[in-house]
């Protein structure tokens, strides 16, 4: 049965330094929540606290109807997959899977049944008698997931489970985790600093910085409507193109004035009654090539072409800086070409220059 998790004004620190302060987070039953953020922002710290592996200095943690703030890890109904796998090196795969069940005093035949089922789901049957040392990285990873799976927990905690795998294996296991979530419907909290993982897996993403949530929203919302400059810069590859300028009101309309020129903003873009400094953020796909689109444009020169396969990233140098554009995979062009770039100002994001907050 999926259960909700609730963190209420949680504070966690090591010694005198507070890593997380006054932290609130409500995770719905059955939700797949991804904690995303740069290294050292407190993701693992938070996950350890939810697991009961480290103490809070303040606040409460609720799992379902129970206040588990002071509960032991084993009483919280959680399974955890560690960044470093943490398989028991002295036990074979079967023992690794069954250890938790044995500790819980489960009957032998029930243990065997569960291990069999888990091994089948994760395709681990051929390796049951092997020690972790004799497994490949992907197999170890699956054992680590199996160890949480076998116990039929309500909540799964994943701490960067795929971070040390090669790209192919990562994609495969990412899909497997997604499938697993769809089948089990359990609540899952997943830590990563890989934005592709975050975007593809999450129901909601919590983007963190220095122990503070910057934005908590669906992947789509986070990508298209970043709440501030930090989120805008953190999500998306290549990063959002930023143009500083000002919103200028004139004759009932609002204009965006920058080194690139002064452009009239459509009604769907933020309006302003007085002049204010802003930064406009445009995704690479919000800049188009050529003047045919009728969008306001400016001149630039192609400086680098990166063919990614399905699409091509174009880096263009203008007088006021470098812009990245996303072009189709079959884009034909050469470095040094003179081009005109058009800005899709209607769909761009606008941030206050001083606070960095979205307008």
């Amino acid at each position: 049965m999926p259960v909700p998790v609730s963190l209420r004004s949680v504070a966690i620190g090591y010694g005198s330094t507070a890593v997380v302060k006054d932290f609130d987070l409500e995770i719905a039953a059955g939700e797949f929540l991804v904690l995303l953020g740069p290294s050292g922002c407190g993701k693992s710290t938070l996950l350890n606290a939810i697991a009961g592996l480290s103490d809070l200095s303040d606040g409460e943690i609720w799992i379902g109807e129970r206040n588990v703030t002071w509960a032991d890890p084993k009483d919280r109904g959680i399974g955890m997959v560690f960044q470093s796998y943490a398989l028991y090196p002295n036990m074979n795969v079967e023992k690794n899977l069954s250890f938790g069940l044995q500790v819980a005093g489960m009957a032998k035949d029930e243990i065997a049944r569960r291990v069999k089922r888990t091994a089948a789901i994760l395709q681990l049957e051929p390796y049951l008698q092997r020690r972790p040392a004799a497994l490949s990285g992907g197999q170890r990873q699956r054992v680590a997931i199996g160890r949480a799976l076998v116990r039929d927990v309500d909540i799964f905690l994943f701490d960067e489970p795929l971070s040390n795998l090669d790209a192919k294996l990562r994609t495969e296991l990412r899909v497997e985790i997604k499938k697993l979530h769809q089948e089990l419907g359990s609540t899952m909290i997943y830590v990563t600093h890989d934005q592709v993982e975050a975007m593809t897996l999450a129901d909601r993403i919590a983007i963190m910085r220095d122990g503070v949530i910057q934005q908590l929203a669906s992947p789509r919302e986070i990508y298209h409507r970043p709440a501030n400059l930090f989120v805008a810069g953190f999500i998306g590859s290549p990063a959002m193109n930023l143009v500083s300028g000002a919103l200028v009101p004139k004759a009932g309309k609002t204009f965006f004035r920058s080194e690139l020129g002064t452009f009239e903003l459509p009604q769907s873009a933020p309006q302003s009654a007085e002049e204010r400094a802003v930064i406009a953020g445009l995704r690479p796909e919000q800049i188009v090539l050529g003047t045919a689109s009728g969008l306001p444009g400016f001149a630039a020169k192609v400086s680098v072409i990166e063919a990614m396969g399905p699409d091509t990233i174009l880096w263009c140098e203008a007088e006021s800086g470098v812009f990245s554009l996303r072009m189709p995979g079959d884009f034909a062009g050469a470095v040094g070409d003179s081009v005109t770039l058009g800005l899709d100002l209607a769909n761009a994001s606008y941030f206050d220059s001083a606070s960095g907050k979205r307008l």
Partner: protein, 297 residues
């Protein structure tokens, strides 16, 4: 300078005997001789008759392999008025060394484990105190320890001498195990906690099997130390439990009649034999990557 890129280079690099290498071998040879020569003299002497010994050719081989002095050393050499050889001391030493080694190693493993993973409040201070305690010469504790064992009614008893060895061994074994466990990834411990295991379960199902190499090393160090101990055995064991070292000393220093060098040498070799054998037997346990495969590789 030698040419670092000879045009003929191909396949295995030829071994060259440099001066540094010759020096190194010479040093190792001398070091080996330094330790082996006395052992050699002792062993050959233990087979020689007193007549042969008196001829003062200490490096010469014995004329025949006569085991009778070994037999005498084992079962009938005299220490004062008791003529039972070192055999009584041998069994006393076994009775002291076996429990004291096992207890001090296991207790050290438990305390090291607790300090490394459970980090009770004040564990840093505790560990510092233990470390410092390990470096204070034990003579300082001798008198308080006598009073303490007497108060417990354990002075001059087998249990008493075992207790004393365990207490004096604990700082070292705790230190060894704490540092050994500090190198084990803490996620392993966390995973076991999430799996529901408690203090003792994690210890015997996970940490103890992982510490096999340290158990062997610590066991060996403790065994050698306790077997070779003289002072504590003399002070705490009591007349009936005197360890082999003390009895060896009593035999060698007994001054009735002539000094039977052959018997004394045999008795000494017998006393040294146990740690020696232990080292030979356990050598292969030393180098072993037991944690291989626990983390990403």
């Amino acid at each position: 300078m030698r040419d670092p890129f000879p045009a003929t280079a191909r396949g295995q690099r030829p071994q060259r005997l440099t001066t540094a290498r010759i020096g190194l071998y010479a040093f190792l040879l001398i070091a080996a001789l330094f330790f082996l020569l006395p052992a050699y003299v002792m062993i050959v002497t233990s087979f020689k008759s007193m007549g042969e010994i008196r001829s003062a050719q200490i490096f010469s081989l014995p004329q025949m392999l006569d085991w009778s002095y070994w037999l005498e050393a084992w079962s009938s050499a005299c220490a004062g008025v008791n003529c039972n050889g070192v055999s009584v001391g041998f069994w006393n030493s076994v009775k002291i060394t076996v429990p004291a080694t096992i207890l001090s190693v296991l207790l050290g493993a438990v305390t090291g484990y607790a300090l490394s993973f459970w980090k009770p409040p004040g564990s840093k201070l505790l560990f510092a105190a233990i470390t410092i305690g390990g470096f204070i010469p034990l003579q300082i504790f001798l008198f308080p320890m006598v009073r303490a064992t007497a108060a417990l009614g354990l002075y001059n008893s087998l249990a008493g001498i075992v207790l004393v060895h365990v207490v004096f061994g604990l700082p070292l074994t705790t230190l060894l195990f704490r540092n050994y466990y500090a190198a084990i990834p803490v996620e392993l411990f966390k995973a076991a906690r999430v799996d529901g295991a408690g203090f003792w379960r994690i210890f015997y199902a996970l940490m103890l099997p992982l510490s096999l190499p340290m158990l062997v090393v610590a066991g060996l160090m403790q065994m050698t130390g306790i077997w070779n101990d003289f002072l504590l055995g003399l002070v705490f064991a009591g007349r009936d439990n005197l360890p082999m070292t003390v009895q060896l000393n009593n035999i060698v220093t007994t001054t009735t009649g002539q000094r039977e060098y052959n018997v004394h040498m045999a008795a000494t070799v017998l006393t040294a034999l146990v740690p020696l054998v232990a080292y030979f037997v356990s050598g292969r346990w030393f180098v072993r990557g037991i944690t291989a495969g626990s983390v990403k590789g």
